[in-house]
């Protein structure tokens, strides 16, 4: 993996003003993947949006890590259902136009 696809956890935590332990905890709950390169811990830049979301949920709404785990899984299901509804709506429109 290219280093440009990664952001060091230290940089991330400084920028977002969150403790390193929070990121470690997210990894323990398998909510994010940490990449280790040259003894430095990184997260993938593609995961930043998700981590940002978890930061908001944890620090703004006081949702604990067990809750985050549950919420995160439900949100994924919700988003996939929303995609399915959109696809079905488009399909329905296709048949209504026929």
């Amino acid at each position: 993996m290219e280093v440009t696809d990664l952001i060091s956890i230290k940089t991330f935590c400084t920028h977002y003003d969150v403790p390193d332990t929070f990121i470690d905890a997210l990894q323990e709950y398998e909510l994010i993947e940490i990449v280790v390169s040259d003894n430095v811990n990184y997260i993938k830049t593609t995961q930043i949006n998700e981590v940002e979301k978890m930061i908001r949920l944890h620090f703004e709404l006081n949702i604990n890590l067990e809750g985050l785990d549950a919420v995160y899984n439900l949100l994924q299901r919700l988003e996939s259902l929303q995609d399915e509804v959109r696809t079905l709506n488009n399909k329905l429109r296709l048949y209504e136009d026929l």
Partner: protein, 294 residues
């Protein structure tokens, strides 16, 4: 603007303690937070309303002003000053005029132009609000990557819309929403696409569907014909004895696959048999002969 009762917004009484306010806010925030309600505009509106209510009621000074002046709480200081000035004037002029709240409202309307003034006293960093926009595009515009310049908050944003985007799909443009408060990050801009299809092709994800009229003789004897695809014509070989309603697939002649450059769906063509009309006597005779052969 209609008066918003912040107590009602948070579902609490006017005598609620700070702890009650905090509890009610947290409960409602968990219910309506945009992260927990993706693509739900109603939830977003409610979340903004409860945030506003919490900002006012969780600040003791603002709460006091809100309790005393209701919808004019933001102008409380000016209200007090104006009231004092009016009293001084009345005392000076020896008049006992009766000024209603409406009079003060007029004064403030003039002073502030009817606009809400800024609210101070926030200590917490807040992420800016997310903006939502709808962009209407024709189907042919999303057949290829499409560049658009949008104006958001007087700033021009140049975006490239990937080919194959679907009707109703939303993309996020990070950091182009409302400004963060107290150093908080900016919100995001969400653009939902409304794809108008004025073509003769029906679209289902990356597959396209169309109907082609087939004359009787080509259907019976076979032959070649030119058919329209979304981006040009192709020659199609019709097999002899092709039946009405038969569907054929033209692989890779459909719509581009979203974010998969160079990959396309398929085009499904349904043959619609067109029988000849206004037959001549000779044609009728020949058809009768054919009928007798079967």
């Amino acid at each position: 603007m209609a008066f918003i009762d912040y107590y009602k917004t948070l579902g609490i009484s006017k005598t609620a303690s700070d702890k009650d306010i905090k509890k009610a806010y947290r409960k409602l925030a968990r219910k309506y937070h945009p992260d927990l309600n993706p693509n739900d505009k109603d939830a977003e509106k409610k979340f903004k309303a409860i945030n506003e209510a919490n900002e006012v009621l969780s600040n003791p000074e603002n709460r006091k002003k809100f309790d005393a002046y209701g919808e004019h709480w933001q102008n409380a200081e000016a209200f007090e000053q104006a009231k004092q000035q009016q009293q001084q004037q009345r005392a000076y002029q020896g008049q006992a005029g009766n000024y209603s709240e409406k009079d003060f409202e007029d004064i403030f309307g003039n002073m502030f132009g009817g606009q809400a003034s800024g609210r101070g006293g926030r200590e917490v960093r807040f992420r800016g609000q997310d903006f939502n926009a709808e962009l209407q595009l024709a189907l042919k515009e999303v057949y290829q990557p499409h560049k658009r310049t949008l104006t958001v908050n007087n700033k021009n944003i140049r975006i490239t819309i990937p080919a194959g985007v679907e009707n109703g799909q939303t993309i996020k443009i990070k950091g182009h929403g409302g400004k963060g408060v107290n150093g908080g990050p900016n919100g995001d801009l969400y653009i939902q696409f409304s794809i108008q299809n004025h073509s003769k092709f029906k679209r289902d994800k990356d597959n396209l569907y169309t109907t082609v009229e087939l004359d009787l003789y080509t259907a019976m004897l076979g032959g070649d014909m030119m058919v329209d695809t979304f981006n040009g014509k192709v020659k199609l070989t019709i097999k002899p004895e092709t039946q009405n309603g038969l569907k054929v697939k033209l692989k890779g002649k459909g719509f581009p696959k979203y974010k998969k450059e160079g990959q396309f769906g398929d085009l499904y063509i349904t043959y619609q048999l067109k029988t000849p009309t206004h037959l001549t006597e000779k044609e009728k005779e020949l058809f009768t002969q054919l009928q007798k052969l079967r």
